[in-house]
């Protein structure tokens, strides 16, 4: 658990995650990555615990830059846990720890003691299962993260609000009511507002935890469309229970079961010709 005091201590030597390139360290087996897309997130032999119970077993996975990576698997398989490891949201839960292995973003182990979790979360944004616009105006929702960073120039804020809302394909729908409450929007719009809020702080990675599970098919299609547009600018990791969604929007798919990574491959391979019978059973709906 990160308390305010530990944050203060680690604030100053915040390592800059951005300029460092993915380290192809010696002595490490070469990443079995597709030629396109560099490795952005390197999850290396990670064991993760909630207190005494192990939630993740020896996860090895490399997320490619500017690609959409989908995590699929039955409930409780650890996919959300892994997702929340990537921006250390699990720190908020008592008794959680990465017992073994490392998660590296651009070669930097994000669990290192001198990593400022605040800085990390600015770089690794998150969109949640239940859309959670703050009970503030749309404008304030978007500028929330920027104001935290001390941006107060009105013109600059206006510019970013428009850019983010356009980026989230929401501008045309809300441009006339920027100062109305974000809660007055429909479910799908709320979720896109949350995405706009996340991209306003210009992260490198956007984590999406079942972003469409509460949306109707039309709103879902819009969010998927958006995901497809966003991947030119951001690396996206999406957890989903919707197999079609994983198939439609992702480039790579990882199948988890019981805290283990069963199969990780190109999405088309996972859905057309999975290498593992468990994967096949799951994606074809004959599981258990």
């Amino acid at each position: 658990m990160v308390t305010a005091s530990t944050l203060m201590e680690t604030r100053s030597p915040a390592p800059n995650l951005r300029p460092t390139l993915p380290a192809a360290e010696a002595g490490r087996p070469a990443a079995p990555a597709a030629p396109a897309g560099q490795i952005l997130i390197d999850i290396d032999h990670v064991d993760f615990f909630y207190g005494a119970s192990q939630a993740l077993h020896d996860i090895n996975l490399k997320v490619e830059d500017k690609k959409v990576t989908a995590f699929i698997g039955p409930s409780g398989c650890g996919k959300s846990t892994l997702l929340r490891c990537l921006n250390r949201m699990n720190d908020l839960i008592d008794g959680t720890r990465v017992a073994r292995g490392s998660i590296k973003i651009r070669g930097i182990d994000i669990h290192r003691r001198d990593v400022d979790v605040i800085e990390l979360r600015k770089r690794v944004g998150m969109v949640f299962q239940k859309s959670n616009p703050f009970p503030k105006s749309i404008y304030e929702n978007i500028t929330y993260g920027l104001r935290l960073q001390g941006v107060s120039n009105k013109a600059r804020l206006d510019e970013i609000v428009e850019k983010s809302l356009r980026g989230a394909a929401l501008w045309d729908e809300v441009k006339d009511r920027l100062h109305a409450s974000g809660l007055g929007l429909s479910g799908g719009q709320q979720q896109r507002l949350c995405i706009a809020r996340a991209i306003a702080v210009e992260p490198e990675v956007i984590l999406m935890d079942e972003p469409c599970s509460a949306l109707d098919p039309i709103a879902t299609a819009k969010v998927e469309e958006l995901i497809h547009e966003l991947k030119t600018r951001f690396t996206i990791v999406i957890v989903t229970h919707n197999m079609q969604q994983a198939a439609r929007c992702s480039d790579k798919t990882a199948f988890f079961y019981m805290g283990r990574l069963i199969e990780y491959a190109d999405t088309q391979t996972i859905f057309m010709n999975p290498g593992n019978p468990q994967t096949e059973a799951y994606v074809s709906g004959r599981f258990g």
Partner: protein
């Protein structure tokens, strides 16, 4: 009380994978055009005893085969990842079947071209009249079937199905004619057999065109017309 205004249905949303469907459609059209031009060239090579043209046809078959593979790949990818339903699903399935038919059309064209090469070494048995006529009908059928794919004109496609009998009757007529040739002059047997096979190829091409037309009707209407009275009506001869 004023009447409730009818809610306006929103315009169809654009999706990021619409382009995949477009590419699939244009590949199928391309394949149809290629197959038709192969048939045309093969017949031309036969009539003009043009071996180099025939060789070109034989060489170009690979193009059609590659297109078939590509269309199949695109179709499987689309079905796998995009979960198509309704007209999209029909399009993908029909596309796969039609591409198979077109590939066979290409094969028949190659076969005609090969026979044209062999026949070019000998004198023609008789002036080529019936075979180009048959070829024209078959090509028209193919064109009409593809037109139906382009603009959904199912009437044309139905007409294609009905015209198949016409080709069949010419084929039968040629068969009888060539048989009598062979009986009369055994020296013509090899040429007559080649011509019988060419005629048979054209008949097969017409059959494929009919298949494609039936598939296009299914694509447009969602109704399977194969082996129904609808396509047999006005069937005429045969």
């Amino acid at each position: 009380m004023t009447t409730e205004p009818v809610p306006e249905f929103p315009a169809p949303m654009k999706r990021f994978f619409d382009a995949e469907l477009e590419s699939f459609r244009s590949n199928l059209i391309l394949m149809g055009e290629t197959a038709a031009s192969q048939v045309r060239s093969a017949i031309k090579a036969l009539v003009e005893s043009n071996t180099s043209l025939a060789d070109q046809v034989i060489a170009a078959d690979d193009e059609i085969d590659q297109l078939e593979i590509k269309i199949d790949e695109e179709a499987m990818r689309y079905m796998n990842l995009r979960a198509p339903v309704a007209s999209e699903l029909r399009l993908v399935i029909v596309g796969m079947k039609a591409s198979h038919d077109l590939e066979r059309v290409g094969d028949e064209a190659t076969s005609i071209a090969k026979r044209a090469v062999r026949l070019s070494a000998e004198l023609p048995l008789k002036p080529y009249v019936d075979i180009p006529r048959m070829a024209n009908i078959a090509l028209e059928m193919l064109r009409d079937a593809l037109d139906c794919f382009l603009n959904g004109d199912t009437e044309k496609a139905l007409a294609v199905c009905r015209r198949d009998a016409e080709v069949d009757s010419i084929n039968k007529q040629l068969y009888r004619e060539l048989t009598s040739f062979m009986i009369e002059k055994p020296g013509t047997i090899s040429r007559a057999i080649e011509l019988m096979f060419i005629s048979k190829s054209l008949e097969r091409i017409a059959d494929h065109a009919t298949n494609i037309a039936e598939e296009m009707i299914y694509l447009a209407k969602g109704r399977d017309v194969r082996h129904t009275d609808e396509v047999k009506k006005n069937g005429g001869v045969g």
